[in-house]
């Protein structure tokens, strides 16, 4: 029993660090470990993942808020889209064939991975020649953050707000229906479509994930899918990991985060395409 507890804390620590740095929920790390290595039923693995997402989100957001890395207005504005998408996803379960969603969103993530690779090769993190976007200016979405790796204040503009909003709607729908990709789509919407730098994209994604997950978490909480002996040590490990990760992320060069991010997002995308092709 003590051994399981320590393993869960260790897994949590690792998932928390990785999740906080990349802005991904951590389900991608936790679900396979719990099901394949620990032999846990998928129902309980998903329950634990949901708790993991919230722990990563709240644990990392403390530092991201204090150090002003995330963009609170972008988060709030886009949360309208993810929460509406989430409700639609829950209601459409059983009506819409998830096969097409897997194909569509898998392709979107692969595209995003390719686009990130191009950004990496160009070696330019912030688009300086972007002219002020009218909607972004009106919603006061443009922001800045202090990059602890480059040691300078980075000011950035946000563009293509409607496109980003649309992708977020889809992101909410997909995570509501498929239960995956809570973070991957959020980072994609901000980085690929709204042209935000990767660090605020990841930090903002971390903030948003918690809100999206909280709605479904209560359902799992009351239907008995969240096992305390698994989820509690996991959550405690993650909280510590997320606090560490949110500090590490800030001193890592954006380039390095991108290099880690690309294979991860390609992997999730290809996995979804595969599920779509074999029929869910």
């Amino acid at each position: 029993m003590v051994q399981t507890m320590l393993i869960m804390m260790g897994v949590g620590l690792f998932a928390g660090i990785a999740g906080a740095i990349l802005g991904l929920g951590g389900g991608i790390i936790i679900t396979p470990i719990l099901t394949l290595m620990m032999g846990l039923d998928i129902k309980y693995a998903i329950g634990a993942s949901i708790i993991a997402v919230i722990a990563t989100s709240s644990g990392s957001t403390i530092a991201y808020l204090r150090d002003d890395v995330l963009n609170l207005r972008v988060a709030m504005f886009l949360e309208i889209a993810t929460t509406i998408g989430g409700i639609s996803g829950a209601l459409l379960t059983g009506i819409l064939d998830p096969k097409y969603l897997y194909l569509l969103f898998g392709a979107l993530l692969v595209f995003s991975g390719w686009n990130m690779w191009r950004k990496l090769r160009r070696g330019q993190e912030v688009m300086t020649n972007v002219k002020p976007d009218q909607i972004a200016t009106k919603l006061k979405l443009n922001g800045s953050y202090y990059d602890k790796a480059a040691l300078k204040q980075v000011t950035y503009q946000v563009e293509e707000v409607p496109q980003g909003f649309l992708v977020m709607l889809g992101a909410g729908l997909a995570s509501g229906m498929l239960g995956i990709g809570s973070g991957a789509f959020k980072v994609t919407a901000m980085d690929t479509f709204m042209k935000m730098p990767l660090k605020p994209s990841s930090a903002t994604s971390n903030l948003m994930m918690g809100v999206t997950a909280a709605a479904s978490a209560t359902v799992y909480f009351f239907n008995g899918s969240i096992l305390p002996n698994i989820a509690v040590p996991l959550a405690l490990g993650i909280l510590v990991g997320a606090v560490i990760g949110s500090r590490v992320m800030q001193v890592l060069p954006a380039r390095v985060i991108r290099i880690i991010f690309i294979p991860v997002i390609l992997f999730i995308g290809l996995q979804m395409l595969y599920k779509g092709i074999i029929g869910g």
Partner: protein, 129 residues
């Protein structure tokens, strides 16, 4: 200084205030959740891994959790801790509304309130579907 960069700077200081308020409240929320979860875990260890319920079961009703917590049953206390953790993002949204209101940012008071309303609707839908 041109008008736009002036506006941006004003927005930036306002943001720092808002983020400061939300950050502190969130920190307290997370700390409370972590302490309760840790307390439950210690109870579980002291109890030799016995959660106070039949194997594979934990309390899942508010009544059951409250009763179990009063009796200091490890799983009940752990469930309370996890419930607090689940509530931290909701707390964050609620505090954001207050913070934007305090900084007279009406547009974002609206946007954040809409998020809270949708969130409440999804809670209801989640428990009826």
């Amino acid at each position: 200084m041109d008008d736009q960069s002036h506006q941006r700077r004003a927005t930036a200081t306002e943001m720092a205030h808002i983020e400061g308020i939300i950050g502190r409240i969130l920190q307290i929320g997370v700390a409370v959740a972590a302490v309760i979860m840790l307390f439950g875990l210690i109870l579980l260890l002291m109890n030799g891994g016995n959660g106070g319920y039949p194997v594979g079961h934990q309390p899942t009703t508010i009544k059951g959790i409250v009763a179990g917590t009063i009796a200091l049953k490890p799983y009940a206390v752990m469930m309370v801790g996890m419930f607090c953790l689940i509530m931290t993002p909701v707390l964050r949204v609620v505090v954001s509304i207050y913070a934007f209101y305090k900084e007279h940012d009406t547009l974002y008071v609206w946007i954040t309130s809409i998020v809270l309303v949708i969130l409440c609707i999804s809670f209801v839908i989640g428990h009826t579907v």
